[in-house]
């Protein structure tokens, strides 16, 4: 019952987000701020994680391919497929749910307990649309970009690790990257990143917006936001994979 109550409140909250912005100029100014906050500040993290995961994927694949009958280009192929299909879309979104999600929940939660949200409402503004709309729009723009970025950096990480460890040579790795490439996998993953972007911004915003009390509740909301958005991403991943593949 409690789950249904929260779901209902969340859907009503979402309805308030998708209304026409009060002033287009203010919306685009906020959007550019959010692009910087959510996107540029996450690029380094995504780069580091993607590089090392790409490297580890290549080394682990190579380690498990002791059978000499298996062609070595499969190392590049498996690294690419893992990054394209799952890591750079789902795992990066889960990481962003932790980083961005807790940030959004605590930012909006603090605004709630310091009456900043009530000040917006008292001015006659739709506080949900003003605060959350630009965040979702920014995440929708930046998450597919981060996905593409992550795939490339992961592949480079795998290439450098494989080459330096002597697990794979240049030609095999490049051949593996080209082998059986299905461009639809990119489309599928980009669609997933769009859904995940909405999830890891709106759920933390919802929890932050509904904080009641003080600093302790802001912390709790932040934790719940990360846990629930991570679960929602995993469930959405399963459903989208079933529908799209």
């Amino acid at each position: 019952m409690k789950f249904l109550d929260i779901l209902g409140a969340y859907l009503l909250f979402m309805r308030r987000i998708f209304t026409k912005p009060e002033k287009r100029r203010v919306f685009f100014r906020e959007l550019s701020n959010e692009l910087e906050k959510l996107g540029l500040n996450s690029i380094i993290l995504v780069m580091i994680i993607s590089f090392f995961i790409g490297a580890v994927l290549t080394l682990q694949t190579a380690y498990n391919m002791s059978n000499p009958l298996l062609p070595r280009y499969l190392i590049g192929y498996l690294t690419r497929e893992t990054l394209l299909l799952e890591f750079s879309s789902t795992i990066v979104s889960l990481i962003l749910a932790g980083k961005i999600g807790s940030n959004i929940a605590s930012e909006i939660g603090t605004m709630r307990i310091t009456e900043q949200i009530e000040a917006l409402e008292a001015m006659g503004l739709n506080s949900v649309s003003y605060l959350v709309g630009p965040k979702i729009a920014a995440a929708l723009v930046i998450n597919p970009v981060l996905y593409i970025f992550s795939v490339f950096i992961g592949i480079i990480g795998g290439f450098l690790a494989g080459l330096s460890a002597g697990s794979v040579n240049y030609d095999d790795y490049i051949n593996g990257l080209h082998f059986e490439f299905n461009p639809y996998y990119v489309t599928y993953s980009i669609i997933k990143t769009l859904f995940f972007a909405v999830i890891f911004t709106s759920i933390p915003a919802f929890y932050g917006y509904n904080v009641r009390g003080g600093a302790l509740e802001v912390g709790r909301a932040s934790t719940r936001a990360v846990v629930d958005s991570s679960i929602a991403i995993l469930v959405a991943n399963l459903i989208l994979t079933k529908i799209l593949l």
Binding site: T114, Q116, A122, M123
Partner: protein, 251 residues
């Protein structure tokens, strides 16, 4: 003028406002006083429209706001200025951006005119050369003054302040009180201030409404309050020895 009749508000089963009637006069500093938890903040938030009332009527001049839809309520809110207890300044915006905020949404001025207006309001609350600072860099009194500048930037007809001098030293509290009083008379606003500060009552209170356990127990001016026979009001006002002494001397 703001008139309320039979305003009642429940939180779950608990009745926090019980059929409150009051008249807040135009061009005057109207105070809502009462103990912590008496329901005065709920009453103020109900007046602003942040909390819907369960029964009763609230009228702003000739316009009834109870039951108004969002669109119509928005029009009335443009005529309101609100100063929240902690100031409620937007942390991510500088002082000047905070004051410009309502202008960016609700005025048709060009950028230069908006900036002029914001600077004028900051000067009016005696804040010069602070536009570039952020709320975290301001003292409590300065925050309140920025909040007042933001509240008056659209030249509101109604000004609401929730405990504007709480957490301030007595000197700064008087400065804020006098500023609110001056602005009320200057702009002819209907100002409603929530307070439990006795200095404010005797310094600026022109019309006073006393709320006790969700009920309006007394209404009058600051002269009449000294002669009140309402036990709850007397207990609230004259518990301290100092206030009792003041009362006797004035009498």
């Amino acid at each position: 003028m703001i008139e309320i009749r039979g305003v009642t508000k429940f939180f779950d089963e608990k009745k926090v406002l019980q059929e409150v009637d009051a008249l807040f006069e135009k061009g005057k500093v109207n105070l809502i006083i009462g103990k912590s938890g008496s329901g005065k903040t709920v009453l103020l938030k109900s007046l602003i429209g942040l909390l819907p009332v369960d029964a009763g009527m609230i009228r702003f001049d000739d316009r009834e706001i109870t039951g108004l839809n969002m669109k119509n309520m928005k029009e009335i809110r443009k005529e309101m200025g609100v100063v929240f207890q902690g100031g409620a300044l937007f942390d991510s915006l500088s002082v000047i951006e905070n004051v410009l905020f309502p202008l960016n949404f609700f005025s048709r001025m060009n950028e230069e005119e908006k900036r002029e207006r914001a600077l004028f309001c900051l000067r009016r609350v005696n804040l010069n050369d602070t536009g570039h600072l952020y709320p975290a860099e301001l003292s409590g009194g300065m925050k309140k003054r920025v909040a007042i500048a933001r509240a008056i930037v659209l030249q509101p007809r109604y000004l609401f302040c929730d405990e504007p001098n709480s957490g301030l030293d007595p000197l700064t509290a008087i400065v804020i009180d006098n500023l609110l009083s001056e602005l009320t008379h200057e702009y002819g606003m209907t100002t409603i201030i929530n307070t439990h500060d006795m200095n404010s009552v005797f310094e600026i209170g022109e019309k006073i409404v006393f709320i006790h356990e969700g009920r309006k127990e007394w209404e009058g001016d600051r002269e009449a309050i000294l002669h009140s026979t309402t036990p709850a009001l007397n207990e609230f006002l004259f518990t301290s020895k100092f206030n009792r002494m003041v009362k006797e001397n004035i009498r």
